[in-house]
């Protein structure tokens, strides 16, 4: 463990600031022999919903320039099976890594139910609330697109769980800083951003969208400048607040340099996502690259760099 990479955030100590993004590392077991998540700052699990979900019809993914589109439909094993079969294994193999469970619901009530059960389970260090989930009772608008929904979900969950709460924000809004503010006021202990951006690819031979559901979420290097800008903007918002919370930067991080962009824009922690599909050990390369950068630049602790791009 490199002391220069040790980070304190959310009232927890992270052995390094590099996490893996929800949906890109499964439940930690699939990649374990190639890339044990115990080396990471934290594992963020695939989104868990109350019921088991079959997911959307295929094709669900397609590569695009410098990224990919996905429309998986939150396929997951469901809360009960997750707690019985996945979480015990994760807890046993976590080592010094933190375990963050990503939760979602299709109504405020379901959000609160899933979060309160998962948040109370042994071995869970924090929850990440996936606000990119559609609200079935409110015309399928994403919870994260509306400040009132954000407040309802976050404050509802906050009242039921003791573990730290990370609100994962969607960039598909007019003013992400306003939604960030709403999440923090409602009790979020940290904000993670960004979720994917809606996109579409048309198969011109078939004259229809390549992905069965039409739209997909864009991720990968293509979204990195959007993510960095959102983090930068939300960091400015945090500085102006009485009780700012740390930011977890996500979007197209494939190397230490990319992680540093997010950190300097204001992120205390980062998540490696789609890059793990390209190279299962991408997160390890980011960790090693950050240690090397600190060494070369005489940085005693990576936290010194948080928000560095804002200082004049």
């Amino acid at each position: 463990m490199d002391p220069r990479l040790k980070v304190r955030a959310l009232g927890l100590e992270f052995q390094n600031p590099v996490l893996v993004a929800s949906g890109t590392f499964g439940y930690g077991d699939e990649y374990y022999d190639v890339m044990p998540f115990s080396e990471l700052g934290a594992l963020v699990t695939k989104t868990i919903t109350r019921e088991v979900r079959k997911g959307n019809p295929p094709p669900r993914i397609v590569e695009t320039d410098s990224g990919m589109l996905n429309s998986i439909g939150l396929a997951n094993v469901g809360l009960e099976k997750f707690l019985a079969e996945k979480l015990p294994w994760i807890a046993e193999h976590a080592g010094a890594a933190r375990v963050i469970v990503n939760v979602a619901g299709f109504s405020v009530e379901e959000f609160i139910e899933v979060a309160s059960v998962a948040g109370g389970a042994a071995g869970v260090d924090a929850l990440e609330v996936n606000l990119g989930c559609p609200n079935v009772k409110a015309g399928y608008v994403h919870f994260g697109a509306d400040p009132d929904s954000v407040r309802q979900v976050v404050s509802g969950v906050r009242a039921q769980v003791d573990v730290p709460l990370i609100a994962k924000l969607t960039p598909n809004v007019t003013d992400i800083a306003a939604l960030a503010g709403a999440a923090v006021e409602a009790g979020a202990d940290a904000l993670s951003l960004i979720n994917t951006i809606p996109g579409m690819k048309i198969d011109v031979e078939r004259r229809k969208p390549t992905i069965a559901m039409g739209f997909g979420g864009l991720s990968g290097p293509a979204v990195r400048p959007v993510g960095v800008a959102c983090v930068y903007k939300v960091y400015q918002q945090m500085v102006s607040m009485d009780h700012p919370v740390p930011i977890v930067g996500i979007g197209g991080i494939c190397s230490a340099e990319h992680a540093l962009e997010y950190i300097m824009a204001g992120a205390s922690l980062v998540q490696v996502g789609t890059a793990s599909f390209v190279h299962p050990q991408a997160a390890r390369q980011v960790i090693e690259g950050l240690a090397e950068w600190c060494e070369q630049h005489g940085v005693k602790n990576i936290s010194e760099l948080v928000g560095a791009a804002h200082k004049v």
């Binding site: 990649y31 295929p58 990919m68």
Partner: protein
């Protein structure tokens, strides 16, 4: 053998037919353990990637010691880049991945259908079946155009009977592989083991021509857009019947080899 990732050096890239290439490299772990039907994810040379995600390819041939050959067809930017690789360039291989074909238990006759670029796992399987002492092995290989036909005869064990069909009629039977399969299957006096890899309509047609009672099994190797190759992204699913409902199974982990009677061909 657990799958692993390794950078390997390209030994050779050889054009075998129109749009069809052989990529050879050395990777002892894969050469020793890859089973017919398994696949690997190939990443482009670092710094040369005009594409982003690795691409899945079935193993075509291994020498059991070090050498691995992948047979591929140029289709998009990834395969075009692969065709331009030179000996000595470094590519990434993540594998061996997925399940593999089952060797016949009681069947003494195996019928293999390879449609287009579905050929590679069939060719590897034919060799393995011959080595396992299966008495009769028929490999039916089809292409749209004769110009795309890979000359296989010299590389197959002697007792593998190769039948070629092309829709333009330039090589072999003019028509489809199923037109060779139908009379052959009709003449079987005992249930053969049937294997297929190719376009979904071809594999669906085979399923409609046979019944579970008339074969030892029918195994179909399926394909879908894939990102991680390890069951994580849930991207590469195909619908499989579970009673009256379909469930989604991942080609990369539950597959790529499926029971050909269980795949919901009308839904793929």
């Amino acid at each position: 053998m657990k799958p692993s990732f390794e950078w390997v050096r390209v030994k050779a890239v050889e054009r075998l037919a129109d749009k069809t290439y052989l990529l050879g490299y050395e990777r002892p772990d894969s050469a020793r353990s890859a089973a017919p039907g398994q696949f690997c994810m190939i990443s482009p040379p670092e710094g040369k990637s005009s594409f982003f995600l690795p691409r899945p390819f079935s193993y075509f041939r291994t020498d059991g010691r070090a050498r691995v050959d992948i047979l591929f067809r140029t289709f998009g930017k990834a395969t075009r880049l692969m065709a331009s690789l030179r000996p000595g360039e470094r590519i990434g291989e993540f594998g061996p991945l997925g399940n593999s074909f089952t060797m016949p238990g009681r069947a003494e006759h195996a019928i293999l259908l390879g449609g287009g670029i579905g050929l590679p796992p069939m060719a590897m399987l034919a060799g393995r079946l011959a080595g396992a002492g299966v008495a009769r092995i028929d490999l039916i290989y089809g292409e749209l155009e004769g110009a795309r036909v890979v000359k296989l005869a010299a590389t197959l064990p002697e007792n593998v009977r190769l039948h070629v069909a092309t829709e333009d009629g330039v090589v072999g039977h003019r028509g489809r592989v199923t037109e060779i399969f139908a009379p052959m299957f009709a003449k079987c006096d005992r249930p053969p083991a049937v294997y297929a890899c190719g376009p979904n309509p071809m594999m669906a047609a085979v399923a409609s021509m046979i019944t579970p009672e008339a074969v030892e099994f029918y195994q179909a190797s399926c394909e879908q857009y894939m990102a991680c190759g390890r069951g994580i992204c849930q991207g590469c699913v195909i619908p499989v019947w579970n009673g009256d409902e379909t469930v989604y199974m991942r080609c990369c982990t539950e597959g790529p080899v499926f029971n050909g009677f269980e795949v919901a061909w009308t839904h793929v």
